[in-house]
C-alpha cells in the first residue's frame, strides 16, 4: 500500500507531518517523531516580534539606572555577543535537526517587518531548512484598513520571502477572510508552494475575579478539523502547483482520511501528540492503513480529493446548504 505523498515538492513517506509545537525544541523528541512515523517536521515558530521585543527589553533593563549614581554606574556585567540568541538558537536547532533526522525539516517563521521576513527566511535556508512555512499571525484591528489592505500584507510578505529564498515556501493563514477562495488564489499567484489551513489563534478569556483579560490556548478538538476540511474541499483542484496541508483538529486516522479525501496533501498534528504522546502517530498510521486495507484503497493518491467540492455528489453540502441542513437536523 502506498501512503506516500508529495508536499511542497518534497517526497514524503506518509501524510503524517508533525506540525509546529514545542516538541521540535528537543532533538531527541524529533528523533522519536521520526521513529514514530512522522514524514516531516514543522519546527516551532521563530517570532521576529518576540526577538525584537526581547532585544528591546534587554536593552532597556540593562541600561535602567545606569550612569545615574556615582557608586553604581551600571548594574550588570557588560554582555558580549548574545542579543539575538533566539534567532541563533533557532538556526542552530535547524542545523541540529537536519543532522539528527532524515525526514524533511520545515522551518516556521512569524515576521513583522519586511526586512525581518526576508532576513530570517534566508538564514533558515542557509541553516539547511528543507522548506519554510510562513506563519502569518495577524489580527486586523486597524479600523482604517480595508480587507484588501490586510490581504495585501499577506501577499507582500509572501512575495518578499519568495524573492529571498529558493527553497519551497508555504503559508499558514487563518480562515478569517471575506473571500477565502480568492485569497487562496492570490497567495497561489504570489508564489506560495503550499497553503496550510488553518492557524489557531489565542482566544482571550476574562478572569471574573481579577477582572483581567487572560490569553488562553487550549488543545484543538477533533471538531475543529471541519473548518479546514471544508476549505480543502473547496480549494482542491483550483490552485496551480500549490500543496495543501490540513492542520488543526487532526486527532485520529479518520480525521486524516477525511482531510485527504477533501484534498489535503498532508495532515499536520500537534495537539494529538502533545496530549497522547508521540506514540499516537504510529497508532494513527496503523489505523489509517488498516482502514485503507479494509476498504481496499491502494494508495493515498487514489482517495485524495475524492470528497472535494469538485468530486462530491452534493457540493452544496460544503456551502451554505450545509448550514441549513445542520439547523434542520437540530429540530
Amino acid at each position: 500500500m502506498d501512503i506516500s505523498t508529495n508536499y511542497l515538492g518534497l517526497k514524503l513517506k506518509s501524510p503524517l507531518v508533525a506540525s509546529a509545537s514545542p516538541l521540535s525544541t528537543d532533538v531527541a523528541k524529533v528523533r522519536q517523531l521520526e521513529d514514530a512515523g512522522a514524514s516531516a517536521v514543522v519546527m516551532y515558530s521563530l517570532f521576529e516580534e518576540q526577538i525584537e521585543h526581547d532585544n528591546q527589553a534587554l536593552d532597556t533593563f540593562l541600561e535602567q539606572g545606569t550612569e545615574s549614581f556615582a557608586e553604581a554606574l551600571d548594574y550588570f556585567p557588560t554582555p558580549e555577543e548574545y542579543y539575538n540568541r533566539e534567532a541563533e538558537d533557532y538556526l542552530e536547532q535547524i542545523h541540529k535537526l537536519k543532522k539528527a533526522v532524515d525526514i524533511p525539516v520545515i522551518a516556521s517563521l512569524n515576521g513583522v517587518t519586511p526586512g525581518g521576513w526576508t532576513k530570517y527566511a534566508r538564514k533558515m535556508q542557509d541553516a539547511g531548512a528543507d522548506a519554510i512555512e510562513l506563519n502569518v499571525y495577524h489580527i486586523a484591528t486597524d479600523f482604517s484598513k480595508s480587507a484588501l489592505d490586510v490581504e495585501n500584507i499577506y501577499i507582500e510578505d509572501l512575495k518578499s520571502v519568495k524573492y529571498a529564498v529558493t527553497i519551497p515556501v508555504s503559508i499558514k493563514v487563518g480562515p478569517y477572510f471575506s473571500s477565502f477562495a480568492n485569497m487562496a488564489k492570490r497567495l497561489n499567484e504570489a508564489g506560495a508552494d503550499g497553503l496550510v489551513l488553518f492557524n489557531r489563534f489565542y482566544q482571550p478569556d476574562i478572569d471574573l475575579d481579577a477582572l483581567e483579560v487572560m490569553p488562553n490556548l487550549q488543545f484543538s478538538s477533533p471538531a475543529e478539523m471541519r473548518l479546514p476540511l471544508r476549505w480543502l474541499a473547496i480549494l482542491y483542484g483550483h490552485l496551480n502547483s500549490c500543496s495543501l496541508a490540513a492542520t488543526t483538529g487532526v486527532h485520529s486516522s479518520y480525521d486524516v482520511l477525511k482531510l485527504i479525501m477533501a484534498g489535503a496533501d498532508v495532515t499536520m498534528l500537534a495537539s494529538a501528540l502533545l496530549k497522547n504522546g508521540i506514540g499516537r502517530l504510529t497508532e494513527i498510521e496503523m489505523e489509517m492503513k488498516h482502514w485503507m486495507e479494509e476498504h481496499e484503497y491502494e494508495s493515498l493518491s487514489q482517495m485524495r480529493g475524492s470528497m472535494s467540492y469538485r468530486h462530491v455528489k452534493d457540493p452544496a453540502a460544503f456551502t451554505r446548504a450545509n448550514y441549513m441542513k445542520t439547523l434542520q437536523s437540530i429540530k
Binding site: 526577538i51 525584537e52 532585544n55 528591546q56 527589553a57 534587554l58 536593552d59 533593563f61 540593562l62 541600561e63 535602567q64 539606572g65 545606569t66 550612569e67 545615574s68 549614581f69 556615582a70 557608586e71 553604581a72 554606574l73 551600571d74 548594574y75 550588570f76 556585567p77 557588560t78 554582555p79 558580549e80 555577543e81 548574545y82 542579543y83 539575538n84 540568541r85 533566539e86 538558537d89 517587518t113 526586512g115 532576513k119 477582572l211 483581567e212
Partner: protein
C-alpha cells in the same frame, strides 16, 4: 611599533594591565575601585588570557580582609597575584599587608585613593586611605592621570618582582579612576618585555610546596624578633634605584620617562610645590601658565612615596629654591603636619645636617591640605599657594579650597583666576541619569578621541540621590594632552538636556562670552525666550551667547526612542560645536550607534538612525531680543517653614552650593538633624498617583508598598474638614473600628513622588465601569501640582489617628500610623524602603537604628537631606552608620548601652522609692510594655516620674532624670543588605545572634551588592548573572534563616511583602516583641534585577509561588507552649521556577549568553527548590506537643 590610542578611564587602564600580568586575582567591591574587579571578572569570563597564555583565576571574597588573606595565600604558594581596593577596604587589608611585606613578597594592590569614614563617610577621592597604610612597609607609587595609571601599573608589577617588596599603586578616586581620557594603550609586547621570565620564575620558586618544604609565619620571641625586623633594610635601600631603573627601561620602550621625583617648571624656580596625585596635573598646568608670565616657580611630583628617597628628592629640588609648600591630600588631626610634609621636612633637615642640601639656605617651608573628598583643586588655588610662598611669613598648616572660619587655616584665593585657554573646547552637559546624557557624552569622547587627532577628557558628576538624579558631564577636547584635573569653570558650550533645570540651576553663571547654549525645550524657538528666568536671559544677552533649542523628547517620541534623548542631543552637540564637520560627525555617530547597538538588534539601530536624521530638522537657533522679560528673582530653595539649620546650611547643599559652607557652619562631630527630606521638593515624577475614593476599598496596600512614603492615609473626625481646599478628597471611613462620622483620606505628596507606580500595580480595586482604572491611577503631575500641594499641606495638619486604637497587625491598621521614614533618595520603585517605612510606622517613636553601609545607609543617610523623620512630639528613629563590616556588633553595642542604662535607672528608681509615689514606682517597674498602649502608659508614668524628680535634690535624682527615658522600651534595629549580612558582616551577625540580647536584625535582601552596582553576594541565587558572576552564579543561595534557626533561641522570619503583606507585618511585630535576637530576611526587589520595578510586588509573589523564597516564621517562644516554633507561611511551589526567574534580566541574560549553562543551572535550581521545600515541610511537621521533644532546645539565657 604603533600603539593604539584608546579613550578609557583610570580603572580600565589599571585593570587592563593587572589582568594581563597576573595569574590569580582576588576581588571585593568597594567604590571607586569596583570597576577594576568587575573588568577582571569580565575579561576572565570572556576567556581573555594573560601574557603567558592562561586565563587568570578571578575570585570574589567575602570582604577586603578576605581578599587580602586570599592574596597572601596565593602569593605564598607562588602565583602572581593582585587585588583592587580603596578606603576602608584598604584598612581591612592592613594586617595582611604587614605580613606580605615582612615576608618580602611581590604583589601590587591597585588602589583608587579615597576618603576614610570619620565624621561622615565619603566615597570620593583623597589620600586618607593610602596614608593610613604607609607604615606597612609597602612600596607606594602614585599615578596622576589615566595614562600614568596604565604605565605605572606595569612599572609596579615589574618592580615588585625585582625589589621583592609589595607595591601599593594608587591614583585618585573618581578624578583619575573615573576620568575618561585618550591614552596610548600598551601592547602585549610591551608587557612581555617588561615582565621577564626569570623574575616570574624567581617569584614562583618562593612558593610553599611539600616538594621542598619550608615554613613561614613563625612566632618569634624577644631574642630575635627585633633583628628579624631589621633584616629587610637592604631591600628598602635598593628599591628606589630599582624603580628608577625600571622607569628608565619603560621610557626606552615607550618614550614616556618617569622619575621618582619629577621636577616640572622653571629651572631657576624660587618657589616650589611638592605634591602627589591628580592635583599635580592642575599644578603643572598652572606652572606652565605662570612661568610663561615670568614667575619663577616649579613643582615636584612625588611618584615613589615609599620608600622615601631623600637622595632622589634632593636631586630634583632646584638649587634656587627659596620657599617650599608641601601639599597633602589627607588630614591627620592632632599631628604636627601631614605625612608628606613631614617626610619632606625630615629629608631637607637631614640633608641640611649632612651638608647635602643644594639650596643656599634652608627654604621657607610650609605645608597645607587640599582636595579632601574630591574637593575641587584648581589653578586659582594653586596660584594662591605660590603667592603665599612670596610672603615673608607664609601661613603654615594651611587649607586651600574651603573657608575655615573656625581656625582660620584657609588661604584666600581669587576664584576668577583661570588657566583655561581658547584652544580647548570646554563643554558642560546637564542631564538626568535616566536620559542617557552621560552615556552619549562617553560616546562623543570615544568618537573624538579615537577618530580625530584631538586629545579628549571626560569627567562626570552625579548627585547623591538614586532616583531622578542630575548628572553633569565635563568634556574637554584639544590638540594637546589635557591636564586640567578640575571641573570646567569657563564652558564654551553648555547643554541643558532637561528644561526643568533652567529654573533650578545657574548653568550659564560661568559661560564664556560667545559660548553656545543648547537647550532641550518643549517650547519652540519663538516661545522659549519667555519661559526662561530673567537671570538666564540676562546672561544670554550680556554674553552674546549663541542659543539653540530642540524638542528632543518630541523627536524621541516620533522616532520610537521613548524617553531616550541621548543620541538626539549628541547629534545636536556635533552639529553645533563644529568639532567635526556635520557630515563626518553624523557618519561617526551612526557608526558608534551600530557598534553599541548592533548586537542588540536592527530595530534599535534603525530607530537611532531615524532619530539622528530627524534631529537636524528640529534644531533651531533662537533669535532673542535684547531685553530681559523674565523675572530676576530666584525662587527660594526651601520653604520658609523650614528650621534655621535647613535654611542656612542644608539649602546651600540642595542648591549645589555646598562648597560655600564654612567650617563654623558645619556640625563638628558629624551630628545632623533628622527629618530633612521633607524640605527638599524634587518634583521628579512626570506622573503621580491620584486617588479615586469611589472605587477605593480602603485596604491600605497602596500606602504600604509606597517606597517613598508619599501615599499617606488618615482617618479623622469629619469636623476637621472645615476649611479644606476645594479639591481635597475624603470619604466615609469603612469598617467597624471607626466611630460613626469618621472620614478617610488617601493623600499623595505630589512633589515627593518618584512616579514608580508600585501603588497602582498593587491596588486590588477596579472601577466597575472601566476596568482599566483602579482606585489609584497615574495622572500628569504638572496640571495638578499646585492643587495637590495645597491638599498635601492640609492633610499634614489633620490629626494623626490615635496609635493606641489602631490594630496594627492588619495592613489597613498599620497604614494609619505615621511613617517616620519618608522621601528618601532610593530608586523609584525600591523594594527595600517599604519595609523600613513599615518598621518606622510600627516602632519609629522608640527605635534606634544601626545601619550597615550600603544602599540603606546611602538613601538613609546621604546628605544633603535624610529621610528618617520625627512625629509631632519630636520623637522618631535615631540613626547611625558605623561601617560595612561591623553593623551587627555596632547595633549590639546600642542594646548593651540601653540595657545598662535601663538597669541603672531601675537601680536609682528603687533607691529613690521612698521619696516617690509608691504606686508610680511600682507601675513603672512592673510595666509589661509589649503592646502599643502599654508603652504609651509607661511613657506617661515616666513623664510623671520626671516631673517628680525635678522636685527632689541629691545626685540620685539628678542621675535618674537623665536616665528615666530608658525605662520606656527602646527598640534596637540593625539594618543592612545581603552583602553585609551574608558576607562581610556575617561573622559579627552570627555572634550577635548568639548574644541572647533583644536586637532586631532586618536584612534587606536584594541578592546582590546593590549600592556598588550589583556584585554577587552569597545571597545571589544560582543561575543569576551579577557582576563578579558574569558567567552566572554556579552555586545556590546561602540559607541564612536556616543557619540562624539552628541556634534555637533566635526569632527568624523570611518575608516578602508582595507575597504576603499580613505575614510581613506579623513577623515584624513578633520579632520586635521577642525578647531576644531576631532576624528578619526581607525579599527586596531591586533595580539590579533588571525589570520594570512597578512589577516588583508581583515578582515577589512569583518568587514565593515558585518556591524560590519560602515564607516562614521561627518563634522560639512557641516551644514553651508545646508548639512547633517553625511555621511555614507559604504553600508548596505551585509555579515553575522559570516562570518567576525569566521575568528578570539577571537570569534571562544567561539564557542568551550561555543557554546550555542556563538550562543546567535552572534544572539544578528547580531541584534545589523541591529539596528545600521538603526540608522545610519536615521541619514544620515536627511534633512539639510533648515539651522537650523538639529538635531545637530553647536556650534563651546565654
Amino acid at each position: 611599533m604603533k600603539r593604539k590610542m584608546v579613550t578609557i578611564d583610570g580603572n580600565e587602564a589599571a585593570a587592563f594591565v593587572a589582568h594581563k600580568v597576573n595569574e590569580v586575582i582576588a576581588i571585593y567591591p568597594i567604590t571607586p575601585s569596583s570597576t577594576m574587579g568587575e573588568l577582571s571578572d569580565e575579561y576572565s569570563a570572556k576567556g581573555q588570557k594573560n601574557i603567558w597564555g592562561t586565563v587568570p583565576s578571578v575570585t570574589e571574597m567575602q570582604s577586603e580582609g578576605g581578599a587580602a588573606g586570599a592574596v597572601h595565600g596565593a602569593l605564598q604558594t607562588g602565583a602572581l597575584t593582585t587585588t583592587f581596593t580603596a578606603s576602608q577596604g584598604l584598612l581591612l587589608m592592613i594586617p595582611n599587608m604587614y605580613k606580605i611585606a615582612g615576608e618580602l613578597t611581590s604583589t601590587v594592590f591597585h588602589v583608587t585613593a579615597r576618603s576614610l569614614a570619620a565624621q561622615g563617610l565619603s566615597i570620593f577621592g583623597d589620600h586618607s586611605d593610602v596614608m593610613a597604610a604607609r607604615q606597612t612597609g609597602w612600596i607606594m607609587l602614585a599615578s596622576n592621570n589615566p595614562q600614568e595609571v596604565m604605565d605605572t601599573a606595569l612599572i609596579a608589577h615589574r618592580a615588585t618582582l625585582e625589589a621583592h617588596l609589595p607595591v601599593i599603586h594608587f591614583f585618585d578616586g573618581f578624578r583619575t579612576s573615573h576620568e575618561v581620557s585618550k591614552i596610548e594603550q600598551l601592547t602585549s609586547e610591551d608587557l612581555k618585555a617588561m615582565m621577564p621570565d626569570h623574575l616570574v620564575i624567581a617569584h614562583r620558586k618562593k612558593a610553599l610546596t611539600p616538594d621542598s618544604p619550608v615554613m613561614r609565619g613563625t612566632a618569634q620571641n624577644p631574642d630575635v624578633y627585633f633583628q628579624g625586623r631589621e633584616t629587610v633594610n637592604p631591600f628598602y635601600e635598593k628599591t628606589p634605584g630599582i624603580i628608577q631603573k625600571v622607569m628608565d627601561e619603560f621610557a626606552g620602550l615607550t618614550g614616556r620617562q618617569y622619575r621618582l621625583f619629577d621636577y616640572y617648571g622653571a629651572p631657576d624656580a624660587d618657589r616650589v610645590i611638592i605634591m602627589m596625585g591628580s592635583g599635580a596635573e592642575a599644578a603643572s598646568e598652572t606652572v606652565d601658565y605662570l612661568a610663561s608670565r615670568g614667575e619663577k616657580i616649579g613643582l615636584i611630583k612625588v611618584r615613589l612615596y615609599r620608600p622615601f628617597s631623600r637622595e632622589h628628592l634632593i636631586q630634583a629640588l632646584p638649587v634656587t629654591t627659596k620657599a617650599l609648600a608641601v601639599l597633602d591630600r589627607t588630614k591627620e588631626p592632632g599631628s604636627n603636619g601631614e605625612p608628606l610634609y613631614h617626610d619632606v621636612l625630615t629629608a631637607l633637615t637631614e640633608s641640611m645636617q649632612d651638608g647635602t642640601l643644594p639650596t643656599a639656605s634652608f627654604p621657607k617651608f610650609i605645608g597645607g591640605r587640599y582636595g579632601l573628598s574630591s574637593k575641587e583643586f584648581t589653578p586659582a588655588m594653586i596660584k594662591a599657594i605660590y603667592d603665599e610662598l612670596k610672603k615673608d611669613k607664609p601661613k603654615n598648616h594651611f587649607t586651600i579650597g574651603i573657608t575655615d572660619d573656625l581656625t582660620n587655616s584657609h588661604l584666600v584665593y581669587d576664584a576668577d583666576f583661570t588657566t583655561e585657554t581658547p584652544d580647548v573646547f570646554r563643554g558642560m552637559f546637564y542631564g538626568l541619569g535616566a536620559d542617557g546624557t552621560v552615556g552619549a557624552n562617553k560616546n562623543s569622547i570615544k568618537i573624538i578621541g579615537e577618530e580625530t587627532s584631538n586629545f579628549a577628557q571626560g569627567y562626570f558628576v552625579y548627585d547623591s540621590k538614586k532616583s531622578g538624579s542630575m548628572t553633569t558631564s565635563h568634556l574637554r577636547f584639544g590638540k594637546k594632552p589635557i591636564r586640567s584635573t578640575y571641573l570646567i569653570s569657563r564652558p564654551t558650550f553648555v547643554a541643558c538636556h532637561q528644561f526643568a533645570f533652567v529654573e533650578k540651576f545657574d548653568m550659564l553663571a560661568e559661560a564664556e562670552p560667545g559660548a553656545v547654549f543648547l537647550l532641550n525645550s518643549p517650547y519652540s524657538k519663538e516661545e522659549v525666550w519667555n519661559h526662561l528666568p530673567g537671570r538666564m536671559q540676562q546672561q544670554i544677552i550680556s554674553r552674546k551667547i549663541r542659543f539653540y533649542v530642540i524638542d528632543g523628547l518630541e523627536v524621541a517620541k516620533k522616532t520610537g526612542m521613548g524617553g531616550r534623548i541621548n543620541t538626539i542631543m549628541q547629534t545636536c552637540f556635533f552639529a553645533i560645536s563644529g568639532v567635526l564637520s556635520r557630515e563626518e560627525a553624523i557618519g561617526k555617530i551612526k557608526d558608534a550607534v551600530k557598534k553599541t547597538y548592533g548586537k542588540k538588534g536592527e530595530e534599535i539601530v534603525r530607530k537611532n538612525f531615524e532619530a539622528i536624521d530627524q534631529t537636524l530638522e528640529n534644531l533651531f537657533e533662537v533669535n532673542y531680543p535684547a531685553t530681559v522679560t523674565g523675572t530676576l528673582a530666584e525662587p527660594a530653595v526651601v520653604s520658609d517653614l523650614a528650621p534655621d539649620f535647613v535654611k542656612k546650611v542644608t539649602s546651600l547643599m540642595m542648591a549645589g552650593k555646598g562648597d560655600q559652607i564654612t567650617t563654623s557652619m558645619m556640625p563638628a562631630d558629624g551630628t545632623w538633624p533628622t527629618a530633612t527630606t521633607q524640605w527638599e521638593k524634587r518634583n521628579i515624577a512626570s506622573e503621580i498617583p491620584v486617588w479615586d475614593p469611589e472605587t477605593c476599598i480602603q485596604c491600605g496596600k497602596c500606602a504600604l508598598v509606597c517606597p517613598h512614603a508619599v501615599i499617606r492615609i488618615k482617618a479623622y473626625d469629619g469636623k476637621y474638614l472645615s476649611g479644606s481646599p476645594e479639591t481635597f478628597k475624603s470619604t466615609e471611613a469603612k469598617g467597624r473600628e471607626f466611630d460613626p462620622g469618621t472620614k478617610y483620606t488617601i493623600q499623595i505628596a505630589p512633589e515627593d513622588c518618584t512616579g514608580c507606580e508600585l501603588c497602582v500595580e498593587i491596588c486590588p480595586a477596579k472601577n466597575k465601569q472601566n476596568t482599566s482604572l483602579k482606585a489609584i491611577n497615574m495622572a500628569t503631575q504638572l496640571p495638578i501640582r499646585e492643587t495637590e500641594k495645597k491638599n498635601w499641606d492640609f492633610f499634614l495638619n489633620l490629626p494623626e489617628y490615635d496609635r493606641s486604637k489602631v490594630n496594627a497587625s492588619t495592613v489597613k491598621g498599620s497604614q494609619l500610623l505615621q511613617p517616620l521614614f519618608e522621601f528618601s533618595g532610593a530608586c523609584a520603585g525600591c523594594g527595600e524602603t517599604p519595609y523600613l517605612k513599615l518598621v518606622s510606622q510600627l516602632f519609629g517613636d522608640r527605635m534606634v537604628v544601626a545601619n550597615a553601609t550600603g544602599c540603606s545607609s546611602i538613601y538613609g543617610g546621604n546628605l544633603p537631606t535624610t529621610p528618617w523623620a520625627k512625629n509631632k512630639e519630636g520623637r522618631g528613629p535615631a540613626w547611625s552608620n558605623s561601617l560595612f563590616e561591623d553593623n551587627a556588633e555596632f547595633g549590639l553595642g546600642y542594646r548593651l548601652s540601653i540595657d545598662k542604662h535601663k538597669e541603672m535607672a531601675t537601680e536609682y528608681l528603687i533607691s529613690l522609692k521612698d521619696q516617690l509615689d509608691p504606686a508610680l514606682v511600682e507601675g513603672i517597674l512592673s510595666a509589661e510594655q509589649k503592646e502599643e498602649h502599654e508603652i504609651f502608659a509607661q511613657r506617661e508614668r515616666v513623664d510623671k516620674l520626671k516631673t517628680a524628680l525635678k522636685t527632689l535634690t541629691g545626685s540620685a535624682a539628678v542621675m535618674l532624670l537623665t536616665l528615666a527615658d530608658y525605662l520606656v522600651k527602646k527598640s534596637v534595629w540593625i539594618v543592612g543588605g545581603d552583602g553585609w549580612a551574608y558576607d562581610i558582616g556575617y561573622g559579627g551577625l552570627d555572634h550577635v545572634l548568639t548574644s541572647g540580647r533583644n536586637v532586631n536584625i532586618l536584612v534587606l535582601d536584594t541578592e546582590v551588592y546593590s549600592n556598588t552596582g550589583g556584585q554577587m553576594s552569597k545571597s545571589t541565587p544560582m543561575g543569576a548573572v551579577a557582576k563578579f558572576a558574569a558567567g552566572g552564579k554556579r552555586n545556590g543561595k546561602k540559607d541564612l534563616g536556616l543557619i540562624a534557626m539552628s541556634y534555637g533561641n533566635v526569632y527568624v522570619a523570611r518575608i516578602a511583602m508582595g507575597a504576603s503583606d499580613v505575614q510581613t507585618i506579623k513577623a515584624i511585630q513578633e520579632a520586635e516583641k521577642y525578647d531576644g535576637p531576631s532576624l528578619i530576611i526581607a525579599y527586596s526587589h531591586c533595580i539590579a534585577h533588571g525589570y520594570n520595578l512597578k512589577y516588583g510586588m508581583q515578582q515577589q509573589k512569583l518568587a514565593v509561588d515558585s518556591g524560590h523564597w519560602n515564607l516562614f516564621r521561627y518563634n522560639p517562644d512557641l516551644v514553651s507552649e508545646n508548639k512547633n516554633p517553625f511555621q511555614l507561611d507559604s504553600k508548596a511551589p505551585k509555579i515553575r521556577l522559570e516562570d518567576y526567574i525569566y521575568n528578570e534580566t539577571r537570569y534571562k541574560m544567561l539564557t542568551k549568553m550561555h543557554p546550555e549553562t542556563a538550562k543546567m543551572l535552572l534544572d539544578q535550581n528547580q531541584k534545589d527548590v523541591q529539596a528545600r521545600w521538603k526540608h522545610y515541610e519536615t521541619l514544620a511537621s515536627e511534633d512539639f506537643s510533648t515539651n522537650g521533644n523538639g529538635i531545637n532546645p530553647v536556650r534563651k539565657e546565654n
